[in-house]
Amino acid sequence: MPQGIKYVCLSSALALAACTGSIGSRSDLRGDDVVNDTIAKSLCVVDTPIRRLTRFEYNNTVRDLLGDTTKPADALPPEEEVAGFNNQAGALTSSDLLIEQYMKIAEAVSARAIEDLQTLLPCDPVLDGEDACALAFIETFGKRAFRRPLSPSEATRFKALFDWAVTDANLGRFEDGIQLVIEAALQSPSFLYRAEQGDETPVEGDIVPFTSWEMATKLSYMLWNSMPDAELFAAAEADELRTQDQIAAQAARMLEDDKAGDVIRNFHTQWLLLTHLDSVTKDNGVYPAFRESLRPLWKEEIERFIEHVILEGDGSLQTLLTANYSFMNEDLSSFYGEDVLSPVSGPEFQRVELDPSRRAGLLSTAGLMAMHANSNQSSPVFRGKFVREQLMCNTLPPPPNDLVIEPPELDPTKTTKEQFEEIGSNPACSGCHTLMNPIGFIFEHYDGIGQWRDQQNGKDVDATGDVVQTDDIDGTYDGAVELAQALAESSQVQECVSSQWFRFAYNRTVTQEDSCSLEQLNQVFASSGFNIKALLIELTQTNAFLYRRAVEPNSDETGGEQ
């Protein structure tokens, strides 16, 4: 085969245009600086597409519905992943394989469920009669499975299935009938999809609020990634999820539950790309201290730290980004060496105090530093890209097509920074790389596995970098501790975090219509001292959450079969 033509780089003008063009886009989202206390209900309301449960949500839901902790949905194909998250309504499609596996896991879950029939039933089939007990089960179970009372025709359908099973020659037992009801319910769209269609009476125009049943479901899937609990169901039954205060009170209660911690972990795993940690490998010739058993420790440190700050600590974004404490066990603490001022012993993770001149918050964790590095050296490009994209919500275009990308080879006479400076100064590449590399240089005290270094290749590490083209933190920084302070106070970062939560919590990307909801979120986030819990509660108070546009009735000409 002939060799491809080698294009080394684009013209600098083109590269610059590509980068600066996308950097400015975020400001398009901003409305006026004045935030209205009362946003007209006609603003910031969009359609809410139906969304099927993710695997995580399915697993949580059957745990809460039937006590099934086997994580059956792990057998389903992975979610379509967009905008950095796997729960985006527009992207989740179905496929033949998905439907086939829904059937199989429903069979397995329902078979396990009837093993403990007593706890499942609200009645006694012997004392109350099998028919009456089946109907009672269908009503109570159906309400929890569908997250609303069943319609009479739904109840009739399930009863007919029960009757079929108990009269079939080869089945015939009461519990066979119960099993089939569960099996069918778990494959019903009312279980698999969230379709909050809104109340019938508009508040104005075509803007409708949600019924209390729908609101219970919205709250529980947003804050727990699971079905409502008994208290939410009781509130729905009493129609007490109508006012903003009622909703906020439930949200505050829900955040105290362990299930909220699972959601916070789920969010950060996706936002910070933590699954990448599972496959980090390093060149042991360069990093003899690396071993695969470090990966879960790195991950656990990050998760413990985040959960502690948000759920038990002061909850603030600043603390997440700048705290000089963390959670480690003996193994991890000795890996960090003298950066840990209060080393711990034993396999349990405990709080440790860190050298505040070396470590500050999330970004300087060994896990994130190791993840954003090559196997044999640190990577200023990856680290800068991570900060730009995940924390500052910048968009960096991928390297142009037909570009040969050559990372610098290891040069034992130079520091990593010196090598990357040579590459970055190439005018063809500098358009985008001046946005990434200098931020990455600021992390140069952390080597490719996140350990502190003062020297590299016999030279002093230079961890200074010029940060440019930001909203509010342009300047020269020396070391990650300095940068972390600046990032923590940057409104660009604060707004980026709230928009990441917006996408995750609302299961969709931000649109132009969301500007006033975002303004409201950002204002409350700021006035709470950038408290993540306050942000989560406020996510239940926006028009984007409280209302939707009424569904236009779908007539038969679209070709559906009834």
């Binding site: 085969m1 967009v82 796997n86 496929s95 998905l98 089939l180 968009t395 990372p407 990307t509 779908n554």
Partner: protein, 448 residues
């Protein structure tokens, strides 16, 4: 144990269920088995500089393909076939390389996939692939003649996240088809009803039918309140249930070569990087058995995905980085070239393993390999330029004598849509074009 030969002539009689176990519409025939088509995907381009064979087709000393030497006369190497449509499409090199590969269609505009921030005002979004892929087209067509247990089987090895970078099969525009990645699950899904009591199987089918009927009634009621787009989504879901129900009666047809494969299954660790070879082998073993049992006529095996970051810790290495990183070094980097040689050689060895299994299944006078065309595809030509020209396409097996194998052809820049047309013709579906018509005017010449 039930034994017999489906395509070899005799069928063991003795169980009343046997007719029902044949694929619907299939007849026990003497001579050759049915035609099958299998797609085999590897990522990040190849070593284009050394990929082609010598004119003699002697592969015994070939630096990449020596393992394929025993099958040289059953292969066709295609040089100079370009993914031309990818250059018209929106999307980056890997996205277009992947989504256009089997569709010959441009990627749809959309707001799904982008780099970094995905807030409003970003012009770099793309959607899913924009057409039905040729494997799914053929699967649909074949099902008009014969209902197999699976319309098609898509197998994957560590494909991981679902995105436009990781899907090559599409049941239609905007409808990606996920591969089956868990070999343990596949074993149950494919083979659990082999050897089972026919009456137990019948009960399972009856039950499933009752449940699915109830679920479909539920769908009808659920859809009444939905808006147009939501309804489209649910229609597709409902269609899949209908399809599933339609296949409940189809069971595995037993043949001499068909039985439960004995496998070294990787357990729960199939997603771990270093289980890649073990997982791949289990998937290949099951794929061949699924074809031998006629569970399907259309299949694919997708190794990883475009931008594959697999670390090939089991081959000799110099740099030891992930595949995608390695594929981006310059053409003059001897270390990277050495590692890329080892990676692509390893893939060629796996291909040889698959072909060996298939060639060992006798079907009348032919082998399963002879009755099949296995198509090796890649989203790129070469990784460091993201070129989608000169894709390293290879065909193995003659598809029941349709292809004239044992040759190496340089097409000098023909669009790959013509290859897709050729494949449809080989499977007796004489389409004029496939996907973008301007890039698929008839089949490639010289293949038959």
């Amino acid at each position: 144990m039930l034994k017999g030969t489906i395509f070899g002539g005799t069928v063991a009689i003795g169980l009343p269920m046997l007719d029902a176990m044949l694929p619907r519409g299939a007849t026990a025939q003497t001579g050759a088995g049915p035609k099958r088509i299998v797609f085999w995907f590897t990522a990040n381009g190849t070593r284009q500089d050394i990929w082609s064979p010598a004119a003699s087709m002697d592969l015994s000393t070939h630096s990449l393909h020596a393992a394929l030497a025993p099958f040289a006369q059953k292969l066709i190497f295609l040089d100079g076939v370009d993914q031309s449509v990818a250059y018209d499409s929106i999307g980056d090199g890997h996205q277009t390389g992947m989504a256009c590969l089997l569709t010959n269609a441009e990627i749809l505009p959309g707001s799904l996939f982008c780099e970094g921030s995905c807030d409003a005002g970003n012009a770099q979004y793309v959607g899913w692939g924009g057409g039905q892929s040729v494997d799914q087209y053929l699967a649909d067509e074949i099902q008009k003649d014969v209902v197999t247990k699976f319309k098609s089987l898509e197998l994957g090895v560590q494909v991981r996240n679902a995105s436009v970078w990781s899907r090559m099969s599409y049941s239609g525009p905007d409808k990606p088809v996920p591969p089956r990645e868990d070999p343990n699950q596949n074993f149950n899904d494919f083979f659990s009803d082999l050897d089972s009591d026919p009456f137990a199987l019948q009960l399972i089918r009856r039950r499933r039918k009752s449940v699915l009927d109830a679920v479909m009634e539920d769908h009808a009621a659920f859809q009444q309140r939905l808006g147009y787009e939501d309804k489209q989504k649910l229609d597709k879901h409902l269609q899949s249930i209908r399809d599933l129900e339609g296949r409940l009666d189809v069971s595995t047809s037993f043949g001499e070569a068909c039985g439960k494969p004995e496998l070294a299954l990787p357990g729960g660790s199939y997603e771990q990087n270093d289980m890649y070879p073990v997982t791949g082998k289990a998937q290949m073993d099951m794929l061949v058995m699924a074809l031998a049992c006629d569970l399907t006529r259309v299949a694919s095996l997708q190794w990883s995905r475009s931008v594959s970051g697999v670390r090939f810790n089991w081959v000799p290495q110099t740099l030891g980085e992930g595949h995608h990183g390695l594929s981006h070094y310059g053409d003059g980097d001897a270390n990277a070239l050495a590692d890329l040689l080892e990676i692509n050689k390893w893939y060629s060895e796996q291909f040889a393993y698959l072909l060996g299994l298939m060639d060992g299944v006798q079907e009348g006078d032919n082998t399963l390999l002879d009755n099949t065309v296995v198509v090796w595809v890649n989203e790129l030509g070469k990784g460091n330029t993201h070129t989608r020209r000169d894709i390293p396409f290879m065909l193995a097996g003659s598809c029941g004598g349709y292809f004239n194998t044992g040759q190496h052809i340089d097409f000098g820049g023909e669009p790959h849509g013509k290859l897709l047309v050729s494949l449809a013709h080989a499977m007796d579906k004489p389409v004029d074009t496939f996907g973008a018509p301007q890039y698929s005017q008839g089949p490639l010449s010289g293949l038959t």
